[in-house]
Amino acid sequence: LAKTTQPISMDSYEGQEVNITCSHNNIATNDYITWYQQFPSQGPRFIIQGYKTKVTNEVASLFIPADRKSSTLSLPRVSLSDTAVYYCLVGGPGAAGNKLTFGGGTRVLVKP
């Protein structure tokens, strides 16, 4: 599975947009990019997944440039409840895709 690199931590304020960039230089052709969110003492929660260009859902947007060597998770107008650890994962579909490989994640602190 492709290795990912993301910032250790980020601070923001309520109402701001938070952008977390993840580097995955050795992403394979059939790899997808997936983001999970984890609150303290809870299991991770799937946020969004994409393959290329832009994906948007009710929670976040995911921007993937043409070379797919990086991706950016965008959280619009964050609130205090968005304080969590965000993990970027890269991997292919199928049986091997059932094995998630988490890095250290990005700790996002939203301040009032």
């Binding site: 003492s41 299991g43 895709g97």
Partner: protein, 115 residues
């Protein structure tokens, strides 16, 4: 609510003891994966069960074993507990095989403390 349940919520054991953790997957899911999360780190994959067989395994010693039952629920067993086994143990359920998605549903975890 993802629908994955785990028991117990918390557990305290002594070094050398054995422990069994339990997981019920989300309704309709047939695959269960187990992860270990040490404090301040990301979850680490232990192993995965489908059709009552271990399908994939991470870099964990054979002190860690598991089982999946016909109703898709699963158990994680850890023998000869070490202090370093203290962690949050997470269960995740999904469908086999994942097609174009990495969406797994995690339970709340079992906090294991080894003293």
């Amino acid at each position: 609510d993802a629908g994955v349940t785990q028991s117990p919520t918390h557990l305290i054991k002594t070094r050398g003891q054995q422990v069994t953790l339990r997981c019920s997957p989300k309704s309709g899911h047939d695959t269960v994966s187990w992860y270990q999360q040490a404090l301040g780190q990301g979850p680490q994959f232990i192993f995965q069960y489908y059709e009552e067989e271990e399908r994939q395994r991470g870099n964990f010693p054979d002190r860690f074993s598991g089982h999946q039952f016909p109703n898709y629920s699963s158990e994680l067993n850890v023998n000869a507990l070490l202090l370093g086994d203290s962690a949050l143990y997470l269960c995740a359920s999904s469908l086999w095989p994942l097609q174009g998605t990495y969406e797994q549903y995690f339970g709340p975890g079992t906090r294991l403390t080894v003293t």
